[in-house]
Symmetry: C2
DNA sequence: GTATCTGCAAATCCTTTGCAAGTCA
DNA sequence: TGACTTGCAAAGGATTTGCAGATAC
């Protein structure tokens, strides 16, 4: 029930959604994570403090936050999705398919692509949180 | 048991894998499809000719072809993966999240990004078959 | 002949859903 | 109070797996 200074909680409240303890705990778990968290990881964090939550509540909260544009989803190719608060900034990831390393890439790196797609295809790409697969330098050396 | 001229079949044979009727039918289904096919669609095609195949055989064949680099997978955001033979050329897709339209994008459009990632991050991106989500021009007009 | 493949059935994994009970505003 | 939320349990859908029997080479 801490983390009442959460900016996401503020926005939820402003839009008329109830700030239940469960939701606040989910928000805290998302915002306290440096990395991107999975639903399962959020659930584990919340259960540690309040054993009666159900994972479906976590999924429902994440669904709501997605709809409201407060978190972004990313698929790093693990067979499950990870979440990240939008207000922590946009960035991308290079995922090495050999060693699993994840390299963070600045938002600007994809800015030009976004421009090209708009100019050439009149398509507004949503490149807020993208995973690009390939091989890192270290692994290429070892081949 | 047709489609013995399949280049994928050739490669499978060369590498010592058995060319079973099931595998040949799966290969034919992949190669005869203009679009990208899902496992379920491949299965449907094969069952039409040989009702005793099992979908797990389709999945196992696809797994093998992926490992050997003979097909690529693409996730167009449908909750299931689609497959495409590598030898039919590389290309990318813009997926409109409003209307579902899929716009094909030439390989060269992502070439520069590939260069940048290599130069800046020493990362060899595997951009052979990428889906980019966003909004198409038509849908943006209607907003 | 024998290692490789297949079919079958069941299991897995992540995620979603129906519903009755609980609770925030 | 009453609409919104939750917990529970069960379903959902795509994909994977164990195993015994079948088969390509």
């Amino acid at each position: 029930m801490d983390q009442l200074d959460s900016s996401i909680a503020d926005k939820l409240g402003q839009r008329g959604y109830r700030l239940t303890p469960q939701r606040l705990m989910v928000l805290a778990a998302i915002e306290n994570s440096d990395d991107h968290v999975s639903a399962e990881e959020i659930y584990a964090q919340v259960v540690a403090r309040y054993p009666y939550v159900n994972i479906s509540t976590v999924y429902r909260t994440l669904e709501l936050l997605k709809e409201l544009g407060l978190v972004t989803e990313i698929d790093l190719g693990e067979g499950r999705v990870r979440y990240h608060p939008v207000d922590k900034g946009h960035h991308h990831h290079l995922v090495c398919q050999k060693c699993g390393a994840i390299i963070d890439v600045d938002e600007s790196t994809l800015a030009r692509l976004q421009d090209v797609l708009l100019a050439r295809y009149n398509f507004s790409a949503s490149l807020r949180h993208v995973a690009i697969f390939g091989t890192c330098g270290k692994c290429r050396q070892q081949q």
